[in-house]
Symmetry: C2
C-alpha cells in the first residue's frame, strides 16, 4: 500500500514522462470496442466511460504510476482517518463521514466520535421533519408548513439548490410530488429576497438559516430582512422565531439563540462546498422530499466513496476522472472543462460543480504554502443538453481552443412522461443527440468547404446511469467530490480552504464601516452610489 | 469615413504593433481619477467603465488605429444598409431594424421594406396582446388566459427567457406584477415539458411555438407533446389550436397551418441569437408585461445602436468593449471572460450572452472561408454577484490563469424593497461588495504567507446603470449584440452563421431514422439504450 507523498506534480517522475509523450489523437483511438470497454462503475448504477478521452495504454500506465507516486489512495485513507488535510486552516476534512464509515479499516476513536455527531444530527433531522410533516410542529398561527425556504450562500445554497431541483421530478413520480415546496434566498441583492418573499404564504413557511460561522454577511442580512418582513406583516399572532431553524456550528453566536424553533449543527471539518450531505443539505431535502429520500442520497454517496479506495485506476472512476483531468489541464494545457448533463433535472448541477471545483482547486500555492508553477484547476462551466447544442456548442466544435467535455446522462427519463413522435420518444431523441455529439466531437468531419469542416479530436467522457434517483444523485455528487479531492492531491494543493475570498470581504467591511482610507476603494464605491445620493432610493420598511 | 476592409486581424499593421508592446499592468495603471474618467455612455443611462482594464494611452491609440484599419464602423453601416454580411448563408443581417432605423443616413429602399415588415409584426403583436389582456381572445373553454408558455430552443429560448426574468421584478413594482405568468419549454428531455406541464392550468394557458425554419427537432417534439397533452386532458371542449400561436418564417411549413390561433413572422435576416427584439421575444414580452414594456425595451436597444456608430472609440462603448476583448483574447492570450451581473434579475443573462458570443465568434475560418491562425471567441461564463464571490471567485483571484471580468450593476435595486441593517441597506452592501472586488482584482495584496497573497492585475470593466428598467435592459442587450458584431469584424469572421451545429444534427437524424451504417455511432447509441431495452420505460400516453 502506498503512503501519502505530498509532492508537487512537476517533481514526480511520471510528470516528466507524461509530458514527453505526444497527446494521443482521439479520432484515431476511438472505435466501438474501445467505447464500450473503457468503463468503470461509479456507484448506484452509474458508469464512467472514458473511451473518447485521449488515453492510450501507454498513457494509462503512466497515469497509474502517477497515482501511485502521488500516493492518492493513501492520502484519501489518511483524510478519512482524521489527518489534518486542510493545512491552511489546520483542520480535518470529514465530509465523507456524513454518509458512512469510509474504507474497510477500523475507524479511529476520534473519527468515530465525529461520525456519531453527524449521525445524531441526521437523527434529529429525521425526527424534526417527521413532526413537521405530521403537523406536530406547525406555524405560529396554527397552520401546517407547506414551504421551506433556505437562506444561505455559496456551499449553503448551490449544492442544496441543485439537489432539490434534481429531486423535484423524482418526487412527482415516486410520491405525490414534493412534501413541501422549496425556495432559496442567497444574494445580498435585495431583489432576491423580495422576489422570493412575494411568492410566500408566511404563515405556512419555514425558513432555514444556514451559516457555519454565523457571520456570513449576505445570509445574516437576508435573515434580518425576512424577520422584519414577518414582524411587519400584520398577521395577528405570527411569531417569527417559530418559523426559523438554523444550521450552524455549535460555537457560532446563532447556536444559542432563543429566537429559533430548532438548531442543527455542523462542524469545522466540513467545508461549505462539501456540505450537501450534512445538515446543510439534509434538513431542506428531508423537509421537502421526506427523510427516506435523504437517506437514499447518503447511501448512493457512500457507495461512490467506497469505490474510490481502489488502487487500480481502471476500477476507480473518480481517480481515473481526476487523473485524466489533470493530464488535460496541466500537460495538454487546456484551460477549461465543460460539464454537460443531458438531464433537465440537473440544470443547476453545473453551477454546484463550478463552485466545488473552482473554489477547491483554483490555487497557486502548494499545500505547504509554496508557489507552484503549473496550471491547476480549470474553468468549469456547463448547461443541460440538448439546450447547449443550440448555444455554445458552435465554439466547442469549431472554436480555436480545445475544451474537454464531460457528459452526464440517464437511460430513462426521470418523470417517465414521454411519447413517441415521428418514430421515437423524446428520451430516445435526447440520447441519440448525445451519441451523435460524442462521435462528432471525437471524429469530426472533413469537407472541401473549410467552414463546414470539423477538426474533431475534442475529448469527452460520459457518466451514464439508469435513472436519476436519490441514490444515483448521491453517487454523482460524491463522484465529483472525490474527483476534486484526488486532483488536489495530484496538484499537491490544499483543496479545502479558500483564502481567495478573504480580500474582498475585508475591503467590503472597510467600506461599510467607513474605516477605509483607500482613495481608490472610496472612489469606486462613490462612483456606484453617486446618483443614488442625488436621488436616494425610497427606503421601504419591510 | 472608413470603408469595410475585411482583413484578417493578423494582417493589420495595428496587430503587429499591439503585439510588440508589453501588457500594461492594471495594478500600476489604476488610480481614482482614471477609474472615474475612463467611461463611455452606453445608452439608457448605462455607462461603460474601463479604467480597470490594461489599456494605457498608447494602447488606446493603437486600438483606435485598429478599429479604423479594420473599418469597423463602415462595416456596421454596411450591415444595417442591407449588405450580405452573413457570407456563409448569403444573407443580410437586419436585427437592428427591429428597433429603429439605425444610423443617420437615408435608408435604402430594400431595408425600408424590411423595417416596415418588422413594424407590421410589432403592430400585430400590440393588437393581439391587447385582445388577450382585454379578454377578447380567450381560451377555448371561455376562460381568460393568465399564463404564456414559450416553446423554443437556443435563440428562441435563452434571450426571451433572460429578458422575462429580468422584467418580472420591474413589473411587480411599476405595475401590479406581470400581466401573465411566463414559462418556457426548450429541452427535448421529456422531463422539461413534464415539469412545466405539471404547473399549468391548460384552459388558461397560451402556448407560443417559436421556430424560424419550422423544422427544429426539439421544438416540434415539445409542440406535439403539448398538443397531445391537451387532446388527452379530458377537459370538455378544449381545442388545442385555440391555445397556440406560432412565430416562424413566412416560408415555413407552420406558417400556413390552420391549427393555430395566430401566426407572427420573422425572416431569414435575423439570426436566432439576435432575435430577442423581433417577434421571437416581442410576443412573449408583450403578453407577459404589456406591449409598452416591449416598446421601451426597443427604444433602449435603438439608443445603444445609435451610439455604436461613433468612429471615436472613446465615445463608442460597444466598440471599445469589443476592441479590449479582442486584445485580451488574441494578444494577451486569455482564453475566457466572465460576465458577472450584480443584479439577481439578470441571473440568466450570462446564459444568453454565452450563446450570443460563443455561437457567433467561436469560429476558425474567416468570412471568406479561409482558415485563420489566431484565437477567436473566448469561453463566456458567469453567475450573479454576490453569489459568485462564494463560488468560483477563489479561482479568479488566486488561480493560475488570468480571466478578464465584466461586471454589470445598477445604483438602485429593481424592486425597491430594502431596509437598513447594521448601518447599510442590502443594495449598499451589494455595491460595496462590487467596489471591493474591482479593487481587489486589480490591486491584489502582498503577504508574507503566499496563501494569503493576491497577485492582482486581474482586469475588469463595469457596465453601470441607474436601475434595471425595460429601457436600460434593451440598451444592455444591444450593447452586447454590437460588441459581438464588432469583434466579428475585427477577427474578420462571419458572426452570423453556425455551421458548427450541423454535424450533430445530421448524425442524430441518421440514428433516429436508422440510416446510420457508422459502427461507432451505433455502438454509442446502443450503449445508452441497452438497459432501456431490457426494461423498456413505461410509455405513457400524454
Amino acid at each position: 500500500m502506498t503512503t501519502p507523498q505530498f509532492i508537487d506534480l512537476d517533481r514526480t517522475r511520471s510528470f516528466a514522462e507524461l509530458a514527453s509523450l505526444p497527446i494521443p489523437e482521439v479520432s484515431r483511438l476511438l472505435d466501438p470496442q474501445r467505447l464500450s470497454e473503457k468503463n468503470i462503475p461509479a456507484g448506484a448504477g452509474l458508469v464512467y466511460y472514458y473511451g473518447a478521452m485521449p488515453v492510450d495504454d501507454q498513457l494509462a500506465a503512466l497515469l497509474q504510476q502517477l497515482a501511485d507516486e502521488s500516493g492518492c489512495i493513501a492520502s484519501y485513507r489518511s483524510l478519512v482517518s482524521g489527518a489534518v488535510m486542510n493545512t491552511g486552516e489546520s483542520r480535518m476534512v470529514l465530509h465523507h463521514l456524513t454518509r458512512g464509515t469510509p474504507g474497510t479499516e477500523e475507524e479511529s476513536t476520534d473519527t468515530a466520535a465525529k461520525r456519531a455527531f453527524y449521525l445524531e444530527q441526521t437523527d434529529r433531522i429525521r425526527e424534526f421533519s417527521r413532526k413537521v410533516h405530521a403537523g406536530e410542529v406547525r406555524g405560529s398561527t396554527g397552520k401546517h408548513f407547506d414551504t421551506v425556504v433556505q437562506i444561505g450562500i455559496g456551499g449553503s445554497d448551490l449544492g442544496p439548490r441543485a439537489l432539490c431541483l434534481a429531486l423535484n421530478g423524482y418526487a412527482g413520480v415516486h410520491g405525490r410530488g414534493p412534501v413541501m415546496r422549496t425556495a432559496f434566498i442567497s444574494n445580498v441583492d435585495p431583489d432576491d429576497a423580495a422576489g422570493v418573499l412575494s411568492t410566500l404564504d408566511l404563515e405556512r413557511t419555514l425558513f432555514i438559516l444556514v451559516t457555519k460561522s454565523g457571520t456570513t454577511q449576505e445570509t445574516l442580512t437576508n435573515y434580518e430582512l425576512v424577520m422584519r418582513r414577518m414582524r411587519t406583516s400584520g398577521i395577528a399572532g405570527i411569531d417569527p422565531a417559530a418559523h426559523l431553524c438554523v444550521v450552524t456550528s455549535e460555537t457560532s453566536p446563532l447556536a444559542q439563540s432563543r429566537e429559533v424553533l430548532q438548531a442543527f449543527f455542523i462542524d469545522d471539518y466540513i467545508g461549505g462546498r462539501f456540505s450537501s450531505c450534512s445538515a446543510v443539505g439534509g434538513l431542506v431535502i428531508s423537509l421537502a422530499f421526506g427523510h427516506e429520500t435523504f437517506l437514499e442520497l447518503l447511501a448512493g454517496s457512500h457507495e461512490a466513496d467506497q469505490l474510490a479506495f481502489n488502487e487500480d485506476i481502471t476500477h476507480n472512476a473518480a481517480l481515473m476522472d481526476a487523473l485524466i483531468g489533470v493530464y488535460l489541464r496541466t500537460i495538454a494545457g487546456y484551460p477549461a472543462a465543460a460539464v454537460l448533463p443531458y438531464s433537465q433535472a440537473l440544470s443547476r448541477f453545473p453551477a454546484h460543480l463550478q463552485q466545488l471545483d473552482m473554489e477547491s482547486n483554483g490555487k497557486r500555492v502548494n499545500r505547504f504554502g509554496e508557489p507552484i508553477s503549473y496550471p491547476t484547476g480549470p474553468i468549469i462551466f456547463g448547461e443541460p443538453g440538448t439546450n447547449g447544442q443550440h448555444s455554445f456548442y458552435q465554439l466547442l466544435h469549431q472554436g480555436t481552443d480545445i475544451i474537454p467535455l464531460q457528459f452526464i446522462a440517464f437511460r430513462q427519463s426521470q418523470m417517465e412522461y414521454d411519447c413517441s413522435i415521428s418514430g421515437s420518444t423524446s428520451q430516445e431523441k435526447l440520447l441519440a443527440n448525445l451519441a451523435a455529439q460524442i462521435v462528432a466531437f471525437a471524429v469530426g468531419r472533413s469537407h472541401s468547404d473549410h467552414n463546414r469542416q470539423f477538426p474533431g479530436n475534442r475529448p469527452s467522457s460520459l457518466i451514464l446511469g439508469e435513472q436519476l434517483t436519490p441514490r444515483s444523485l448521491g453517487a454523482l455528487l460524491a463522484h465529483y467530490e472525490n474527483k476534486v479531492m484526488f486532483q488536489g492531491f495530484l496538484w499537491n494543493i490544499n483543496s479545502f480552504d479558500q483564502e481567495g475570498v478573504q480580500l474582498g470581504k475585508v475591503l467590503t467591511e472597510a467600506l461599510l464601516s467607513k474605516t477605509s482610507t483607500d482613495a481608490l476603494l472610496s472612489c469606486c464605491y462613490d462612483l456606484m452610489k453617486q446618483e443614488g445620493q442625488k436621488n436616494p432610493p425610497r427606503e421601504k420598511e419591510v
